[in-house]
């Protein structure tokens, strides 16, 4: 597989097509309807912010978009691939190749270096060693951490950690970058840096999806989808 750093601008296509998506958590005693029929379409190259209060279902939606979980009902096409009904191995492959995650708490592996963290998805993707090294190197340089590659996450600042996480998210050149409160644990200035990086990636043609409370970040997005009680209550372009 050949991986290029820059995703070329391509003709606009639907990256995410969700129709009548429902998610029900049924523990036997309690039945929670987290999503009650979501219709959502995201086209390639969009920068979408998903906002909503706690318990609105936006985390559930993120898990579904990121293929960490499968919907109870409805259909979900990730680019051309139907996700509902895939087994764990197929979901793992999709997450590896098509989704780049960025988390609020970074979720870097603490005992390995920044470089090895970025290398991890490439390892799962079966990328040969040499290419893996080159790619991880390139990505870390791109997020401005060329001099921090051999540092462990604990030796990095929050902003640096989030940049490592972003480099990791981009490693397999995914269809979408899916970020969950990416600035939530950062101070204003590092948060600003990360937001700028997001914007830059978007301008290069990435599809960015951000789940956030952060009004400043949401404002940078081209489109804001608001969720409440498991349904989309507004969907507007800014």
């Amino acid at each position: 597989m050949s991986v290029t750093l820059e995703r070329p601008r391509e003709q606009i296509t639907d990256v995410i097509t969700m129709s009548r998506i429902t998610k029900v958590y049924d523990t036997g005693k309690i039945r929670v309807e987290a999503l009650k029929g979501i219709d959502l379409r995201i086209r390639s190259g969009e920068f979408v912010a998903i906002v909503g209060p706690s318990g609105s279902g936006k985390s559930t939606l993120m898990n579904l978009i990121g293929c960490l979980d499968t919907p109870t009902g409805g259909t979900y096409l990730l680019r051309d691939k139907e996700v509902a009904g895939l087994d764990k191995n197929e979901l793992a492959k999709i997450r590896n190749e098509r989704v780049g995650f960025v988390f609020q708490n970074f979720n870097l592996l603490p005992q390995i270096t920044a470089f090895e963290n970025v290398e991890m998805p490439l390892l799962f993707g079966g990328i040969p060693r040499k290419e893996r090294k080159e790619r991880a190197h390139e990505l870390l340089a791109k997020v401005g951490l060329a001099d921090r590659m051999e540092h462990r996450p604990t030796e990095l600042s929050g902003g640096q950690m989030q940049r490592v996480a972003l480099a990791r998210a981009l490693a397999m050149n995914p269809d979408i970058v899916l970020a969950d409160e990416p600035t939530g644990n950062l101070d204003t200035s590092s948060g600003g840096d990360v937001m700028s990086l997001f914007e830059e990636l978007w301008k290069q043609g990435r599809t960015m999806i951000v789940i956030t409370h952060d009004a400043a970040l949401a404002r940078r997005a081209g489109r804001i989808v608001e969720i409440k009680d498991g349904t989309i209550v507004s969907d507007r372009t800014t």
Binding site: S59, N63, G66, L68, D69, K88, N89, A92, K93, I94, R95, N96, E97, F101, F103, Q104, N105, N107, L108, L109, Q111, I112, E116, M120, P121, L123, F124, G125, G126, I127, P128, R168, M172, D180
Partner: protein, 417 residues
């Protein structure tokens, strides 16, 4: 790159953690392995020693005594005494082809053995040359057992049990020396080689002396044999051979061949078979104890693996989010558990071997308990059984924690601290 390659890469990148815990876990497995290996090795040693001792008296033999008839037969009453004559052994040799040996044995108690000023009272046996083979009378180097000339020429030569030789001669080498048996001069031709002996009749062989049957008849003048020793050509046929022997003797002396009290027999083949099974049982029991000890080590491994999984829950969730397949999560964990087990097992093996080698230097002569217990033996079978138990425990100890790891829901672990 193959899936296995990924698993191995992940294993290498995760196993450099938690040295102290790894060391403790490996130590517990090593300890369990030492217990298992040593117990099995002691069992093996005991088995081999007892088996040697069991055959000390001779391998695949039976001993016959003439007793009393207990059944009436063709008008003859029960309760008649029977006695073996020297020619009965010859008769058996001729008439029972299943036997590859049948020899008569005269015995007398309270014979005086004198050398110099020392006199010892012991048992004297008069018998044929084949006795040396049947009854495992191996001479010490420098001596010999009785030979055909001794018997044919009625020589006054004597073969001494090792302990008796020591009692009479002290530190003097008896071979070639003249000694007095009931005040008549004899030449010592050989001394019994020291050996373990479990079964005995009339006393252990080390305490008796043997002279030619012809000499015995001339000097002591007994009419009846003490007993006849037979050996079956095929030990498995011993029971049939004994039946044949009874028939021949019953025909000669006129008693019911089914009267098995008239001629008593001690079938050592059967005894040895039972003993072998008992010993196998003992070794199995020891193995179970060792296996249980090792299982505690296995529980330790499982424990540490569960702790590892719990600690790495987030890490596992992250890896899953990045696209690790469930097998890539469980694979390295199973490898880690197995690595602890294999490493601990090897350490245990080395330690056990050291102990066994060290025990080899402990002198066991003159201490019967040590003679039986002090020879732990690591046989290939012991090694194979231990490795199988260890492997099974290691796999089980790693499998269940790994399965728990694979069931981790990444969506649950990633968002919250």
């Amino acid at each position: 790159m193959s899936g296995l390659g990924v698993v191995f890469n992940l294993f290498l990148s995760s196993s450099r953690l938690q040295k102290k815990r790894a060391v403790l876990t490996i130590a517990s497995i090593a300890w369990g392995s030492v217990s298992l290996l040593l117990l099995l090795a002691f069992g093996q040693g005991l088995r081999e020693q007892l088996s040697v001792a069991n055959r000390g008296m001779g391998s695949g033999i039976a001993v016959l005594w003439a007793s009393e008839t207990t059944k009436t037969w063709q008008g003859l009453p029960a309760g008649r005494s029977l006695h073996f004559l020297p020619e009965d052994a010859l008769l058996l040799r001729e008439r029972v082809p299943l036997l590859d040996g049948a020899i008569g044995e005269f015995a007398t108690w309270g014979t005086n053995f004198t050398y110099g000023k020392r006199t010892v009272n012991a048992r004297l046996i008069g018998t044929e040359v084949a006795y040396g083979d049947l009854r495992n009378h191996v001479p010490l180097p420098g001596g010999r057992f009785l030979n055909d000339q001794d018997v044919a020429l009625r020589r006054r030569v004597i073969f001494l049990g090792d302990e008796l030789a020591h009692d009479v001669f002290g530190d003097v080498d008896p071979v070639g020396k003249q000694m007095l048996i009931n005040s008549m001069p004899y030449t010592v031709v050989g001394v019994l080689e020291k050996r373990l002996q479990m079964g005995a009749y009339g006393g252990p062989d080390k305490n008796h002396a043997v002279i030619p049957i012809t000499t015995f008849q001339a000097q002591i003048g007994q009419e009846y044999l003490g007993n006849i020793v037979i050996r079956a050509a095929d030990p498995k046929m011993m029971k049939t051979a004994l039946d044949e022997v009874r028939k021949v003797i019953a025909a000669k002396y006129g008693f019911d061949p089914d009267d098995d009290r008239a001629v008593r027999s001690w079938d050592t083949v059967e005894g040895q078979r039972i003993m072998r099974n008992i010993l196998l049982g003992i070794q199995g029991f020891l193995g179970i104890i060792g296996g249980l000890t090792l299982m505690i080590g296995g529980v330790g491994v499982a424990n540490i693996m569960y702790a590892t999984v719990k600690e790495r829950t987030r890490e596992i969730g992250v890896k899953m989010a990045l696209g690790a397949r469930p097998a890539w999560i469980t694979g390295p964990l199973v490898l880690e558990g197995l690595a602890y087990t294999v490493f601990g097992g090897l350490l245990g093996l080395l330690f056990s071997m050291a102990i066994i080698i060290a025990l080899g230097f402990v002198p066991t002569d003159g201490n019967e308990a040590l003679q039986f217990l002090g020879k732990p033996t690591l046989s290939p079978a012991v090694g194979a059984i231990s490795a199988a138990i260890l492997g099974a425990i290691g796999l089980l100890a790693a499998y269940f924690p790994a399965r728990r790891a694979a069931s981790i829901d990444p969506a649950q672990t990633l968002r919250y601290e």
